[in-house]
């Protein structure tokens, strides 16, 4: 009916005119003159325009029409000032885009449920431990041992189906450079529990997961596309995991990424294949299986079972299951702790996630900071709108005087803001899609890729829509209400004449500018904090020389070497690496600094009672020369430190302070390692002391480290890490080293990483925080400067008459500049004072993410204050100078 609007008006008008004429005619018949009759009839009708409006409003399509009218009006007013429109749109797009991008990350990491059937009825079975007893912990979700899983599977009644899984990496290549795949190891019921259907072939089922299984593996959809080009013929082909062939039996569906948020997988392997792949180290069949923690459990609750009921049942079976699986290594004390563990059921709808735990503080903090940026943007826009509204004051007053309703006017003024907000939200949404993808790329490193499903779901869309509405209200409502409520008479009288009466009117603008300054200070201080924290991390003493070191991770399980031959094989490899041209020094060790693997051991000090944990490594002679960790006392390991000679160690300075007697020379002192009951506890003699160096975390203070000689290792491993210092570039060196290693034996697998890159990649979260906070801080300061500039320019323009009079009366230019500056200095001062308080209070949220400085670091805050004050004053310098250059005569005549 909308298009018939004018027809509707015409009809009503005609109907009313007839009525009026008939009425007039009636009056004439009663003896009035035609003219009198006409006016009498007209009077009876009152305001026909209002009558018409009222009638139209009754038809409910009216709102749509006014809505379209408002939009047309909004577009027209925006088109009249394209500069304002562009600035406003950009500001909003950036503000909303940043918020939406970060919310998308939060959504993907924290809020989204698993893409599986009925995630609400899934539960994680967790082993509640008040005290950790020793064990070998593998993978990020090491909750259970295989024997414990068997016990639970047999005894539990809470779940209709239950499964375990673990994540791991295996090598697909057969010789030469490693080709690492991310696997999930799953028990037979895993896909049944989740309700995942195969995309192709079949998924691993109970029949595949039997002791001594041949094992069939499933490919993830992405891996199948990447490696097999999505060919159906992939089914039936063979993949090699750490040298052991397995047939491919199926492909998982495209949307399935496993149950751990932030991870992905290439292959799904049945748990039973652990026996084949890891042989003597198998976490299922080896005698140590009760000591190997590597599985996480997920189950589907029986219909009608709550988490509490499931927990109660699990608690009831816990003592029996634990009693039946006590690791033989435990002494009485350990057993007591072990038996006190309790199984419990936790909600699993959001999946497992270490990413969630590690990044949740920074994500929420970033969301808060981006929210502040949006607030500043809104304050800025509100200010611009206020300025525009006051120049439109006379127009609005005229409309009010002509009978426009106040609500209608406010709606009309809001429509302009709504248009901007919706357009801003659209642009912001598009921006967010790109931004969030680059954020994920940013936090992914070659060694720890983060994989998130970043499609925008209803929560993200709702969030953006909410932001659009919120921003409309924030920056549009105050100016609209203000314009709608001013009494039209007074506005009409003062229109165009702003002497000094403006002061009151500008109060809201001043408050907004002060708020902007305050919020920008918070963001600026945050940005500086994270930048300094990153700088501290990048320049912190490492205790070693990271440049020029290439790390080669080597695996030789396919050679099936007996333990006795492994040490000599590694020594041969090391010799051939040292012979490569360009190699200055090389050494073998169990790990490289900050590679994510760590291992510790319990030190018993002199009296065998006091002691504690020390980190450990097992290195060849030349390790300290290669890493340039300084020798402080004693000697390096030598070929004479053999399996038959007395046991020796080299320790670092923190170790000396923590475990050795301060009154004696550390070199020559002895200590023992804790060992399970019945095992020998030999003495180790300290032969050397080295400087402290970074072990596994750049954010950590130096930790105690004990270095054992590789030659005295009783159970040499099939994995070894070589650290190689060279005078040539890493790329060419890697080639030479690869040839040296495969030349020694073609079945050896090797993977290279540059030590400097490895250290740098561990700082990725700090870099992200510093970059984003820097971006937010910069944006905030820019917006605040724009806001200051705008308001001051505007007040100067409004007070042109006053300034003209002052100058005519003999005020100096410097006096005029001072007048303007004083006003702004007060605003900036108030803003900074409030902002400093906010920054100090809010900084606590960031303290856990900072390195080498406190959240309330006074120097950072002072720096932020000075920077902001300088930028603020620079922003108002132009309008202040303009004011002082006014020609008094022009100014006085200015209307």
């Amino acid at each position: 009916m909308l298009w018939r609007g004018s027809r509707f008006d015409a009809d009503l008008e005609q109907e009313m005119r007839l009525h009026q004429e008939l009425r007039a005619q009636e009056q004439v018949e009663r003896g009035l003159s035609p003219e009198e009759a006409h006016y009498a009839a007209e009077r009876r009708f009152g305001n026909r325009l209002v009558l018409r409006e009222e009638s139209r409003d009754m038809w409910n399509w009216n709102w749509l029409e006014t809505f379209l009218q408002d939009i047309r009006y909004g577009l027209r007013t925006l088109a009249k000032s394209p500069g304002f429109a562009v600035v406003a749109l950009l500001t909003l797009a950036l503000g909303i885009g940043a918020n939406a991008a970060i919310f998308q990350l939060v959504d993907a990491v924290r809020l989204r449920t698993l893409p599986v059937k009925d995630p609400q009825s899934l539960a994680i079975v967790h082993l509640k431990r008040d005290f950790w007893v020793s064990g070998n912990f593998n993978g990020p979700y090491a909750e259970l041992t295989y024997p414990l899983w068997q016990q639970i599977r047999q005894q539990q009644q809470a779940f209709s189906s239950i499964a375990v899984w673990s994540s791991d990496q295996t090598n697909l290549a057969t010789g030469g450079e490693m080709d690492i795949a991310h696997d999930i190891w799953v028990s037979g019921d895993f896909f049944t529990v989740l309700g995942v259907q195969p995309f192709l072939g079949r998924l691993i089922s109970l029949g595949d997961d039997q002791p001594g299984c041949a094992g069939g593996v499933d490919l993830s959809y992405a891996f199948w596309q990447r490696r097999y080009g999505g060919a159906a013929s992939a089914i039936g082909q063979t993949v090699t995991l750490d040298g052991h062939p397995f047939p491919i039996v199926g492909v998982t569906p495209p949307g399935f990424y496993g149950v751990s948020v932030g991870d992905r997988f290439d292959l799904a392997v049945p748990v039973c294949a652990d026996a084949t792949v890891y042989g003597e180290y198998s976490r299922i069949t080896s005698p140590d299986a009760r000591h190997d923690w590597w599985l996480a459990m997920i189950g589907r609750l029986n219909p009608g079972w709550s988490l509490d009921r499931a927990t109660a049942q699990l608690a009831a079976i816990s003592p029996g299951a634990l009693q039946a699986t006590i690791p033989p290594q435990y002494d009485a004390d350990h057993v007591k702790h072990y038996l006190s563990y309790k199984l419990e059921a936790l909600p699993a709808a959001n999946g497992f996630s270490n990413l969630r735990q590690s990044s949740s503080t920074s994500l929420w903090l970033l969301l808060g900071l981006s929210g502040l940026v949006l607030l500043i943007a809104c304050a800025n826009l509100a200010n611009l709108m206020l300025a525009r509204a006051s120049t439109r004051g006379p127009e609005i007053a005229v409309r009010l005087a002509l009978g426009a309703s106040r609500g209608r006017l406010i709606r009309q003024l809001l429509s302009e803001s709504a248009l901007l907000a919706v357009a801003g939200a659209l642009c912001g949404g598009i921006l967010a899609a790109t931004l969030s993808r680059s954020l994920v790329a940013f936090i992914s490193t070659p060694n720890s890729s983060v994989f998130l499903d970043m499609h925008a779901d209803w929560r993200v869309l709702g969030f953006v829509a909410g932001l659009a509405i919120l921003t409309t209200l924030l920056f549009g409502l105050a100016p609209a209400l203000r314009s709608g409520s001013a009494p039209p008479g007074s506005v009409l009288k003062t229109a165009g004449r702003g002497m000094t009466s403006g002061r009151e009117r500008f109060r809201l603008q001043r408050i907004l500018v002060a708020a902007q300054v305050a919020l920008s200070l918070v963001l600026l201080a945050g940005a500086l904090l994270f930048a300094r924290s990153l700088l501290n991390l990048m320049t912190r003493p490492l205790g070693l020389q990271q440049d020029g070191v290439l790390v080669a991770n080597v695996a030789f399980q396919r050679l099936n070497l007996p333990e006795a031959r492994r040490s000599s094989f590694v020594a041969e490899l090391l010799d051939s690496i040292r012979a490569v041209p360009g190699v200055a020094a090389a050494a073998a060790s169990n790990r490289s600094p900050v590679n994510g693997n760590s291992s510790n051991t319990e030190i018993l000090a002199e009296n065998d009672i006091t002691g504690g944990q020390s980190w450990e490594d097992r290195v060849s002679p030349g390790y300290f020369q290669t890493t340039e960790i300084p020798f402080l006392a004693g000697r390096d390991f030598s070929p004479n430190d053999s399996a038959d000679s007395p046991k020796v160690v080299i320790v670092n300075l923190v170790f000396v302070k923590k475990f050795l007697s301060p009154s004696k020379n550390p070199v020559g002192q002895q200590f023992r390692l804790d060992a399970p009951p019945g095992m020998p506890k030999p003495y180790y003699s300290v032969v050397g002391v080295v400087g402290d160096s970074v072990y596994n975390d750049m954010h950590e203070q130096f930790v105690p480290i004990v270095y054992f000689p590789r030659a005295q290792d009783e159970h040499p491993n099939i994995y070894v890490t070589f650290l190689i210092r060279s005078r040539v570039s890493s790329a060419s060196l890697a080639n030479g080293v690869k040839h040296a290693i495969t030349g020694a034996n073609p079945e050896v697998d090797v993977q290279f990483v540059v030590l400097r890159t490895q250290l740098r990649d561990s700082l990725v979260q700090d870099e992200l925080m510093a970059t984003l906070c820097g971006f937010f801080g910069g944006l905030a300061v820019l917006l605040a400067a724009l806001g200051l500039y705008g308001v001051i320019s505007y007040t100067v323009a409004q007070r042109t008459n006053e300034i003209g009079i002052r100058m005519a009366l003999g005020a100096q230019r410097s006096g005029i500049v001072g007048l303007v500056l004083r006003e702004v200095a007060v605003l900036i001062g108030i803003g900074i004072a409030i902002g400093a308080g906010l920054a100090l209070g809010g900084g606590r949220a960031a303290s856990s993410l900072l390195y080498g400085l406190k959240a309330n670091d006074p120097l950072t805050l002072a720096l932020a204050v000075m920077l902001l004050a300088a930028i603020g004053l620079a922003a108002i310098f132009v309008p202040a100078r303009r004011a002082s250059r006014l020609d008094p005569m022009v100014a006085l005549r200015y209307e």
Binding site: D11, E15, L18, E26, F45, G46, S55, M58, W59, N60
Partner: protein, 109 residues
Amino acid sequence: MHRNEIPPGTLYLLILKALARSGELHGFEIARWIEQVSDDVLQVEEGSLYPALQRMLIRGWVKAKWGVTAGNRRARYYRLTTLGREQLEVEVSEFNRVVAAITRAIQTA
């Protein structure tokens, strides 16, 4: 002669009654009918009449179509719908109930 405005809430009743009695009327005829049958005691405000007619159209009590008056003028004629007839009964009984109540109240000594 003293003229009264139509008591609030009874305008619909009067319009419905006018249309029930006369079949088809245009706006002015409705107003005239009310004034005449009430001996000019009741005065219909034009400012109320036309919005009221619009509301009744929206509620489906009346239908409107364009026709020509005796004086050969285009006019919009209104007639009752079935819904309007039912509404008239409702309004009449409601009005009687209220009047009876008011009468009782003012006759109470």
